[in-house]
């Protein structure tokens, strides 16, 4: 590559309501790779961006949560297809951001796309696995059905920038909730690319909102927000997770506690990340004649 070409220095923006706005605060910060070389400027979301993202996620919830499970699965599978098309880009970004060798970065991206496909397949199986026809002593049917919680705030893992992100975001979408995600602070670039993937796939605007910035700054606002139904604290700073949990209790949110150290994301997650953001609705129905 000729060296006299001017570098195109990128300044990425947020992903809110299907659009790419700048932060309301106008703030950006520099992201470097693990060797300290400049990678890009990204927007640093403020509490008002988080507020706007929650409004967008709430507006998108009725349509997303009532779309059929088959449709939701197809929409999510389409995301995996578009991710596949960006495979090389993801590999470069993960390698630079996490300091991985090319082969390890490739393995992480493969695992992330496979994870997304895996969750896409779960959408139409949840009701069968988690729902039940309950025994009752009377001429009734009694069914229990899993239903999405609503708007879920996700503090994404700080270390694993793509596989970790996919592992916490995809289950929220697969179960029918909408998401406001705060990305890894120091490794947000794969999340920005994922936002570009989401914007060019079939996911309706507002279903996923990605905020680049600091989980320590945005966490309290999302934990206290009365219109957020659940919060995943995986990426919360270890010293403040307890505080966020207490704040979330004020409006009785579903809370996923942070692990002591970031888990091995390549392990089989089972249902552990889908069940926390599901409510069980039980209905009685006369048998009829």
């Amino acid at each position: 590559m000729s060296s006299d070409r001017l570098a195109v220095r990128k300044t990425y923006k947020l992903y809110v309501n299907g659009a790419f706005p700048r932060s309301e605060s106008g703030r950006t910060y520099e992201v470097t790779d693990t060797k300290g070389h400049f990678q890009a400027n990204v927007a640093r979301a403020s509490r008002k961006d988080a507020r706007d993202a929650v409004v967008a996620a709430r507006a998108a919830f009725p349509k997303w949560s009532t779309s059929t499970a088959y449709n939701r699965g197809q929409v999510l599978y389409r995301v995996a297809e578009v991710m596949e098309g960006r495979h090389v880009q993801f590999c470069d970004e993960v390698a630079a951001g996490e300091g991985l060798s090319a082969s390890k970065a490739r393995a992480a991206v493969d695992a992330a796309i496979d994870r997304w496909v895996w969750y896409a397949g779960w959408t139409d199986k949840l009701a069968a696995v988690l729902g039940s026809a309950n025994p009752v002593a009377g001429p009734y049917f009694d069914f229990s059905l899993p239903e999405p919680s609503g708007v879920v705030a996700v503090l994404a893992p700080q270390q694993s920038s793509l596989l970790g992100l996919v592992s916490v975001l995809a289950p929220v979408l697969a179960t029918g909730s909408t998401a406001v995600v705060v990305t890894s602070r120091d490794r947000p670039i794969p999340a920005v690319t994922l936002a570009e993937v989401l914007a060019t796939s079939d996911v309706p605007g507002g279903v996923v909102n990605l905020l680049t910035g600091d989980a320590a700054e945005l966490g309290p606002w999302l934990a206290e927000h009365a219109d957020v139904d659940g919060i995943d604290l995986t990426g919360a700073p270890a010293t403040r997770a307890m505080e966020f949990e207490r704040e979330a209790a004020g409006t009785i949110k579903r809370v996923v506690r942070p692990p002591a150290t970031e888990p091995d994301w390549t392990a089989d997650p089972g249902l552990s990340r889908m069940t926390p953001f599901l409510e069980t609705k039980t209905v009685w129905h006369p048998i009829g004649l």
């Binding site: 507020r51 929650v54 709430r58 606002w221 206290e224 927000h225 009365a226 219109d227």
Partner: protein
């Protein structure tokens, strides 16, 4: 008088044309004189008006000022329901919300009025009782205004008899756009007379809706404002809420300048009510700033300024809860209309 064959057919009385306040008592002598007067009003610089409101819209209102603005705005809301599907039950629930907008916080001020169709004014009157909240009723073939004058007058008298103490009338936009300004004037005068109570009680306040979304230019907005004020309207109101665009800030600026100029010339103060399209606290605060900077604090009072809105109150309450509790609230925490 060209479009009504017999204006007194139903009411039994031919309205007499009253002259405006001095020094404008001679401008309605003839249609030609009135037209000359209205077209002689200073033209509106549309680009300048938009720039002015854009500048004022950037004012940052925070903390205690914001708390004051939100409470003031709540006390200025005309809580409105103008749907074909309105029922007495819906009006009663709206009246309950008007008296106690936020049940979780009794310090929340009451709204200024409940605005309904004329036939439901009695239900609203009864539900509001002695709360001091006014009952506003839309009349004169709202929202199109397409009926004969006699029918419009009967509509007004019916709403007043049902207990409305504020009447929101629409002007005849067809006559206005056709250049028959004196017809518009005479109609407002006639409606104003119909607002008086047969028993000698205080007459209902008259709000004149210009429906600025149909008036095309800001020059027309200024002319229609003057017609309404000269004819004795107590309030001028932007829109019915049924037409887009409704209450935009440049339109509000022009109408506020009109009420300011009118008081300077005649000494009579006229109120202003933007309606339609004001949905967020931010919009409401922009209007409060616009008032303070255009006509001054004399108008920052529910007697002289109102918001016509149905959805605005919900957002004001959410913002009020945010200030009180320190965290963002959600639509689950305010009542649904």
């Amino acid at each position: 008088m060209t479009h009504v064959l017999d204006p007194g057919a139903l009411s039994g009385a031919i309205p007499t044309v009253r002259a405006p306040l001095a020094p404008y008592d001679d401008v309605t002598r003839t249609a030609a004189a009135f037209r000359a007067f209205l077209h002689g009003l200073p033209g509106v610089d549309q680009v300048g008006a938009e720039a002015r409101v854009a500048t004022l819209g950037t004012r940052s209102i925070k903390t205690t000022s914001k708390a004051w603005a939100i409470d003031t705005a709540i006390s200025m809301v005309d809580l409105t329901t103008l749907e074909g599907a309105d029922t007495p039950g819906r009006v009663r629930s709206l009246a309950a919300k008007a008296r106690q907008p936020d049940p979780s916080d009794p310090t929340t001020p009451q709204v200024a009025a409940v605005c309904v169709y004329g036939d439901l004014a009695g239900v609203a009157r009864e539900a509001l009782g002695d709360s001091g909240i006014h009952v506003a009723a839309v009349a004169t073939a709202f929202p199109s205004g397409r009926a004969s004058r006699a029918v419009k007058i009967a509509d007004v008298q019916d709403a007043v008899a049902n207990g409305a103490d504020e009447i929101d009338m629409v002007i005849d936009r067809g006559a206005f756009l056709g250049g028959r300004y004196l017809d518009v004037y005479e109609e407002v005068v006639a409606v104003k007379e119909a607002c008086s109570r047969p028993d000698g009680g205080a007459p209902a306040h008259l709000k004149v809706i210009l429906e600025t979304g149909e008036l095309v230019t800001l020059d027309n907005v200024r002319r229609a404002s003057w017609i309404a004020m000269l004819a004795g309207g107590d309030f001028i109101k932007t829109s019915t809420g049924k037409v887009n665009p409704a209450a935009t800030l440049p339109v509000s600026l022009v109408m506020l300048e009109a009420v300011r100029d009118f008081r300077a010339a005649t000494g009579r103060q006229v109120g202003f009510k933007p309606a339609g399209g004001i949905r967020t606290t931010k919009d409401a605060i922009k209007h409060l700033v616009l008032i303070n900077e255009t006509v001054g604090a004399d108008w920052l009072d529910p007697d002289w300024f109102r918001f016509g809105a149905s959805g605005l109150l919900g957002d004001l309450l959410l913002q009020r809860q945010k200030l009180r509790t320190g965290h963002y609230s959600g639509p689950d925490y305010v009542t649904v209309d």
